[in-house]
């Protein structure tokens, strides 16, 4: 499977510097967080990974939920460990993020911020470059204000495809990533799907996802021939969303 592409065509590879990741709607925050983690993850086999850092205000953690490490098994900046910083307010979020980035001690960092001003983003972008780190500002909503971030993303949840062995169950996670602004090229939109076997995000429309799904459906058909209804008696199984 190693010959399969890690990312969809044209998808910008994560790199050092500062990006902004916003949830399309507040309910899409989990998807946005997952995407932000992807953006600050180190490339595999790039030497000893440095730890990752997540910083948020305490109020944010109360309202949005706290990081759950076992759920961060998708690409995370924590190849070398994870540090979670809970602070009092957004001012401290920015301070902690800047300290972490410029120290050179962390490989990637995500900070939950609602509206950093341009000066702050400039300082953060500079600190990220200086520390050789990838950083993402995670926003609950999109913002139009000035920012020194290299790229700006808008992330929305997508309904999953049916699971291979249980169509009534949610399939692999899917999300829609819209690059709303980039300094080095054209904006674009991608649909990504989580590949649990390879532990990567892949193109939801092509690649192994489709193949896997097809295999699962063929198997399901085989079961049906055997007199077994893998989907159970419920009619919900046939409902499609999306």
């Amino acid at each position: 499977m190693s010959d399969l592409p890690t990312f969809p065509e044209g998808f910008p590879v994560p790199e050092r510097g500062l990006e902004e990741v916003a949830a399309a709607e507040p309910q899409d925050l989990a998807a946005a967080l997952a995407f932000a983690l992807l953006r600050v993850s180190p490339e595999p086999d790039k030497g000893v990974p440095r730890p990752g850092l997540f910083v948020a205000a305490k109020a944010w953690l109360r309202e949005r939920g706290r990081p759950f490490a076992q759920g961060w098994q998708m690409p995370t900046p924590s190849g070398g460990g994870l540090i979670v910083v809970a602070v009092a307010d957004e001012r401290q979020v920015i301070w902690a993020l800047e300290e972490a980035l410029k120290s050179g001690a962390v490989g990637g960092a995500v900070a939950a911020l609602s509206a950093p001003d341009f000066v702050a983003t400039r300082r953060l972008a500079f600190a990220a470059k200086a520390g050789g780190a990838a950083a993402a500002i995670l926003r609950t909503t999109g913002a139009e204000g000035l920012s020194a971030a290299w790229r700006r993303w808008r992330i929305g949840s997508l309904a999953s495809a049916p699971q291979a062995f249980d169509v009534r169950a949610p399939g692999p996670a899917r999300l829609r990533a819209e690059l709303t602004r980039r300094r080095d090229g054209l904006p674009g939109v991608w649909e990504l799907e989580w590949d649990d076997d390879r532990r990567i995000w892949r193109d939801a429309k092509s690649g192994p996802a489709a193949a896997q799904q097809a295999r699962g459906l063929r198997l399901a058909a085989g079961l049906a021939r055997d007199g077994l209804d893998p989907f159970g008696p419920s009619s919900e199984g046939s409902r499609q969303v999306g």
């Binding site: 759920g71 300290e99 699971q163």
Partner: protein
């Protein structure tokens, strides 16, 4: 040479865990497992009074005293305690050695050569030493002699005499039992078989003949050592004393008449100490790379703070600032300290050096991480900077622990087979839900006042409470949870659970629904 010895470091009976009652004179013993099973390693006064003794089997001891409280011995902790005491005793002599002869009879050896005049002569020194140990709750006997062997014998077996005058070892030892020679039990048994009970009994014997008879099966490495031990005690043969740590070359020392109990007091004396130390360093053209400030507590413990210097320095003001930045409050003065020592355990020629070569990148990063965590914790508080660790529990909220971050290491998570959310609500949030009995996923639910229709669902994943974690405070016992992974019509994914098994656990309460987390 001075030796002190004590009967047991752990004299204090612990409060009975299940009771919380008066500790009182409870017979108490430390036990260890040896070839004969569980045996007493050390006993306290109350146990001694009942006739229990070191080395007795626990079963026998309990037959005699059923209410004997025993705690497994922790040799590592005991060794540490002894070492701490040795460090504390450095206030009397820079050369302090551990005498780990065995449990319950550990001792220290201090080389006091030419040092007792500082304390007003030998008897006064012994009195002062014993008094200080007694203050720390340690019963000890101190003895002085020319040789380590004789001092040891007097401390352990001497009736009255605690000081063997110069050249008086032979006389002082004559009446002591042969055990006082620090011999293997095997050698002692053999001596007694010969009718040789006192050290003086050995004097008239032909030395060659005696040596010849004390060749055991272990002759090579250990031997039965009778003649060697006798010669050592009598000073005919030198016995090296290995100090617990080499005395630092650079140190300044201050003793107080009255114990200092406040940090302010320490701060008061610090400039003089720093100045004295700096002078020593400057004299040799050296600078300190590491500083240790040690307080000698009246209770027999030491407390210290350490500071590292990125470059060697011998500037009193610099040394002083560094210690103050480190925080003198970190010194735990307890009931007071009666001596302070400032030393430079690591010193080097004070020439600036280049470092930070490419090959040391990892080390640099590690140092940077330590620095970052320190800075974050210093400003935000230790609890604000955390790192997760797997805790081995099926209950999600117990399955990972959040510890104060440290650059020393991160918890490693194995890949999980069971899907887990990216964000977890703690505590879980109540939701209204409608579901088919007994254990179907909800068809719809309302969270934060928004109704959501369930399109796909998987479950239940059943997780029962950890029955052994009893909380007497909680009014109702915890119930089993059924977790469901749910996707709503807008493609958002949630982790819900129903608390309470239908027909099994909720005879008097209906199941409740909770949202515990969200998936990407």
């Amino acid at each position: 040479m001075t030796v002190w010895t004590r009967s047991a470091l752990h004299q204090k009976a612990p409060v009975r865990s299940a009771e919380g009652s008066d500790p009182g004179p409870i017979p108490f013993a430390l036990v260890e497992r040896n070839g004969r099973g569980l045996c007493l390693r050390a006993v306290n006064g109350a146990a001694q009074k009942l006739g229990l003794w070191r080395g007795q089997s626990q079963a026998d001891a309990r037959a005699m005293a059923p209410d004997l409280v025993t705690v497994p011995a922790d040799p590592a902790a005991e060794a540490l305690t002894l070492k701490r005491l040795a460090l504390w005793a450095e206030r009397f002599s820079p050369c302090v050695a551990l005498m780990a002869d065995g449990p319950g009879v550990e001792g220290l050896a201090l080389d006091m050569t030419g040092g007792t005049h500082l304390f007003g002569g030998e008897p006064a020194f012994i009195a002062a030493f014993e008094a200080r140990l007694a203050k720390a709750g340690i019963l000890a006997r101190v003895a002085m002699a020319d040789s380590l062997g004789t001092a040891w014998a007097l401390a352990r077996f001497g009736a009255m005499t605690q000081i063997a005058p110069a050249g008086g070892a032979r006389e002082a030892l004559a009446d002591l039992p042969v055990e006082a020679l620090r011999l293997d039990p095997e050698a002692v048994t053999l001596l007694k078989r010969f009718g040789l009970q006192r050290i003086g009994d050995l004097y008239p014997l032909p030395r060659a003949g005696l040596a010849r008879r004390f060749r055991g099966p272990r002759a090579g490495a250990m031997g039965l050592k009778v003649v060697e031990r006798l010669d050592q005690a009598l000073g005919f043969r030198a016995e090296p004393v290995v100090p617990v740590r080499p005395p630092p070359a650079y140190r300044s020392f201050q003793v107080f008449a009255e114990p200092i109990t406040e940090t302010a007091g320490v701060a008061l004396y610090l400039p003089d100490l720093a100045k004295a130390l700096a002078e020593q360093l400057q004299r040799d053209g050296q600078g300190a790379r590491r500083l240790t400030l040690t307080g000698y507590r009246v209770d027999g413990a030491t407390t210290s703070i350490e500071a590292g210097l990125s470059a060697a320095s011998a500037q009193p003001s610099h040394l002083l600032r560094l210690l103050k930045e480190k925080g003198l409050e970190a010194l735990d003065l307890g009931f007071g300290i009666d001596a302070l020592m400032l030393s430079a355990p690591v010193a080097e020629a004070s020439v600036a050096q280049q470092e930070g070569l490419d090959g040391e990148r990892a080390a640099t990063e590690a140092a940077a991480l330590a620095g970052l965590i320190d800075r974050l914790q210093a400003k935000l508080g230790e609890d604000a900077v955390q790192t997760p660790r797997p805790r081995g529990s099926w209950l999600p909220e117990r399955s990972e622990g959040w510890d104060a971050a440290s650059s020393l290491g991160f918890g490693a998570f194995d890949p999980v087979f069971r899907p887990r959310p990216i964000l977890l609500f703690h505590p879980p949030e109540r939701v209204e839900a409608i579901a088919e009995l007994p254990d179907s996923a909800p068809a719809r639910f309302t969270w934060r006042r928004v109704a959501r229709r369930v399109v796909r669902a998987e479950g239940p994943e059943r997780i029962a409470p950890e029955w052994w974690r009893l909380s007497p405070a909680s009014p109702r016992p915890p119930r089993t949870r059924d977790y469901y992974r749910i996707e709503d019509e807008t493609g958002r994914r949630y982790w819900l659970f129903r608390e309470g098994l239908y027909g099994r656990e909720d005879q008097d309460r209906t199941p409740e629904w909770w949202l515990h987390g969200v998936f990407a």
